[in-house]
């Protein structure tokens, strides 16, 4: 027996293994974040008072982050388009831009967190801050994961063994799907925590 991974093409007309796999993974992630949002709703509605987002958190910075993340969604769409066209420099430029924007998101978040910590505010401070730190923290971990995946694809594109591989485009598409999902989570997280 050898350790070669055997890749069998799926039944004709079907969804590719990678795409189906990513969507199933996203389904599990939907359940994960649905649970956190539900916990948020329950804890908030069950509490006697709840701070206004503008008072407790840095809304302008978070708005900036929203803009950054939405932009990174469009740049990853462009990266995919370039990969589809087999335009390697194009793909690498747009993917690098996506990664840069993602790192920007993390920098802004680090700034937000450190400001809060300096004031002595942490997850233990109140249920509001517990939810805030936990949910944005988990989101940050997902952003980090996305950066690693995207950086991995960027690196792979520099090796012709991977760039030429027939499944490479599917991998880019899968990474894009994951990244858009991270964006969608933030689209709900931002108003829920900061604006309402």
């Amino acid at each position: 027996m050898t350790t070669i991974a055997i890749e069998q093409p799926p039944t004709a007309g079907a969804i590719s293994n990678a795409k189906l796999g990513v969507w199933l993974f996203l389904a599990s992630e939907i359940m994960l974040f649905a649970t956190l949002f539900t916990s948020y709703i329950v804890l908030r509605l069950g509490s006697t008072s709840w701070p206004w987002g503008w008072d407790a958190l840095n809304v302008p910075l978070a708005t900036l982050n929203t803009v950054i993340l939405i932009t990174s969604s469009i740049t990853i769409v462009m990266a995919y388009a370039k990969a589809y066209d087999k335009d390697k420099p194009g793909f690498q430029s747009w993917m690098s831009l996506t990664i840069l924007l993602s790192l920007g998101f993390l920098v802004v978040k680090a700034f937000e967190y450190s400001h809060e910590f300096k004031l002595g505010i942490g997850p233990h401070t109140s249920v509001f801050y517990a939810i805030y730190f936990t949910m944005t923290g988990l989101h940050v971990i997902h952003v980090l994961g996305g950066i690693l995946v995207n950086a991995g694809l960027l690196y792979m594109s520099s090796r012709s063994k991977h760039w030429e591989h027939p499944l490479f485009l599917g991998r880019v598409e899968g990474a894009g799907l994951y990244w858009h999902f991270v964006d969608i989570v933030w689209i709900f997280l931002f108003p829920s925590l900061y604006l309402l």
Binding site: M1, T2, T3, I4, A5, I6, E7, Q8, P9, P10, T11, A14, I15, N17, L20, G21, L24, F25, A27, S28, E29, M31, L32, F33, A34, T35, L36, S39, V42, L43, G46, S47, G122, P123, H124, T125, S126, V127, A130, F133, T134, L138
Partner: protein, 578 residues
């Protein structure tokens, strides 16, 4: 089929047996590892049973091995008892039965039964195993934590689980184990949807594959809520948040220092949202195994194949809507309790349908009473007892009395031990020839079978009685409650049968390893079965089938009218009379 050929011709031991990408090797890794964890969990319980039968007396032999905190003078402490209880449950469910049923049997057999060369994502498959093993080891390492292992029940209810020792490691292990499981479910689903051989429509899949399919959906959607809930509990413990800690909680005279504002019941809901589908995960693959063994050994098609499949799907769907029947006495409004009461009654219908189909499958069959068939036959009445004892628990009025008594413990052990584990053991005897090209010894199998069944009944029947008599569960010293004194003798009975059960596993363990090397060699299809896993060499080579099989018929063409041969393999070309 495309192969990504590496330069080397013969793989190293590491590549072949340790970090293999082959689903069969990974399946066997899961098999051995989960059996070891089952033995560990069993060992923990054997310690507990001594304390339950003879409260306050030193544990023979092992008592001296434990530190003074765990067992002063060899007598188990209350905290140690709680740790053993919580860890026994956790290990058996998450490290034992599910990895065995899904990781071992599912991994090995699913690609074979659908005619695929491997899983859709072999690397991810390997990762699943290599998350499971460290996660499991970490879980066991919690015994070395200051204060001991997790000791708040496998259910880990806050506020106790927030302040008790050992829980953080439990939570971290759970996160690792859940990740392993999620990767596995994605793999199973994509493989089943995309990689069936030509002619293998969904309705020609063996029932075992349907069981794994429904199980994979349950695991995919139900585990993330527990992962989220565990993250919240971790936050409570490590960062002193108050997701589950209510305001002004007073513990032993002191106010808890967190911010308060949390809700302990939130954990209960999130935990049981997973844990109820989890029990169907414990049960469905074994039912699939029993179905395969029965069809094969009655030499006739399963009765009601479509009914069985629809029942499994119905169980899967309903399993998400019954969870709060574990929380009937938590203070829910009667309206909400009634909702869950109704859904719980509804879910019993497809379960009964499944069992009825299995019973009717026996009618008119030419039954071969080989060792796997004995296990499969025993499953039917024993699982039925387990299921029926669940009804008073699902009915709110009776549950008020029975909740958190030994009746509950008796109920679920009947289902999981004399149900699922019996089926899983039978599956080992049945598929061992495929895994190793040799048969297990029949006489040892008979001893193992009769001894195990007798002991299982002996352990858990007393529990049903004790529960009805009002004995609470999770009691370190049952005799502390005066009304338990009359049934204390039953504890002794259970304990001796438990030790008997341990002894009867010895022939099985010996049989397994001895037969691997010295068992009677078998042909490719020793049971004369129809399903695809028997249409390849034993053990199957890398890639499974010499060429992609084409499927021409359903999975249970036994004793087809007009044919001389009493079975018609799925991939045999459609031709003449044989």
């Amino acid at each position: 089929m495309s192969h990504d050929h590496s330069g080397s011709s013969s793989p190293s031991f590491r590549e072949k047996y340790v970090f293999s990408l082959d689903h069969k090797v990974i399946g066997l890794q899961y098999l051995i590892t989960s059996f070891i964890f089952l033995l560990v969990g069993f060992g923990l319980m054997m310690l507990m049973r001594w304390q339950l039968a003879f409260p306050g007396s030193p544990i023979p032999f092992f008592g001296r091995l434990f530190s003074a905190e765990l067992a002063p003078n060899g007598v188990m402490s209350g905290e140690f008892y709680n740790a053993l209880g919580a860890m026994h449950g956790t290990i058996m469910v998450f490290l034992g039965v599910v990895p065995l049923a899904v990781g071992a049997y599912g991994n090995y057999l699913l690609p074979l039964q659908i005619g695929a060369p491997d899983m859709a994502f072999p690397r991810m498959n390997m990762m699943s195993y290599w998350l499971y093993l460290p996660g499991g080891v970490l879980m066991l390492l919690s015994f070395l934590m200051p204060g001991g292992a997790a000791q708040s029940g496998w259910t880990s209810y806050p506020p106790l689980s927030i302040i008790n020792p050992g829980q953080t490691v439990w939570l971290l292990s759970m996160v690792i184990l859940i990740t392993s499981s999620l990767l596995g479910s994605i793999n199973f689903l994509v493989t089943t949807i995309n990689m069936r051989a030509p002619g293998m429509s969904l309705w020609r899949m063996p029932v075992f594959c349907w069981a794994q399919l429904v199980t994979a959906v349950l695991l995919l959607l139900a585990f993330p809520p527990l992962e989220a809930a565990s993250i919240l509990q971790l936050m409570d413990r490590v960062f002193h948040t108050s997701f589950y800690m209510p305001k002004d909680l007073v513990l032993l005279g002191q106010t808890y220092s967190g911010s308060g504002g949390g809700q302990p019941l939130l954990w209960q809901h999130l935990f049981w949202f997973l844990a109820h589908p989890e029990v169907y995960v414990l049960v469905l693959p074994p039912m699939g195994i029993v179905s395969e063994i029965i069809a094969n050994n009655t030499r006739k098609p399963l009765h009601g194949y479509k009914t069985m499949v629809y029942s499994m799907i119905a169980i899967g769907v309903m399993s998400f809507m019954v969870w709060a029947h574990h929380m009937f006495i938590s203070g829910m409004s009667p309206a909400l309790s009634n909702f869950f009461l109704v859904t719980t009654m509804i879910i019993s219908v497809p379960s009964v349908a499944l069992m009825t189909c299995l019973v009717f499958s026996l009618k008119g069959g030419s039954i071969r009473f080989n060792v796997p068939m004995l296990f499969a036959l025993a499953f039917i009445p024993l699982f039925a007892i387990g299921g029926l004892t669940g009804l008073p628990l699902g009915l709110t009025v009776t549950d008020i009395y029975l909740h958190d008594t030994y009746y509950v413990i008796g109920h679920f052990h009947f289902v999981v031990v004399s149900g699922s584990i019996i089926a899983l053991m039978g599956g080992t005897y049945y598929w061992f020839p495929k895994w190793y090209g040799r048969k297990m010894n029949d006489r040892l199998g008979l001893i193992h079978f009769w001894g195990s069944v007798a002991c299982m009944v002996g352990i858990f029947s007393p529990m049903l009685i004790m529960g009805l008599a009002g004995t609470s569960r999770r009691l370190y010293d049952p005799t502390a409650q005066l009304h338990n004194l009359s049934t204390q003798g039953l504890n002794v009975v259970s304990t001796y049968f438990a030790y008997g059960l341990a002894l009867f596993q010895l022939p099985f363990i010996y049989n397994f390893f001895n037969s691997m090397f010295r068992g009677e060699k078998t042909p490719e299809n020793p049971w004369q079965a129809t399903t695809l896993e028997w249409a390849c060499p034993s053990p199957p080579p890398h890639g499974n089938f010499p060429s992609t099989p084409t499927v021409h018929r359903g999975p249970y063409e036994y004793s087809t009218p007009g044919r001389v041969c009493d079975f018609w393999p799925q991939s045999e070309p459609p031709s003449e009379d044989l």
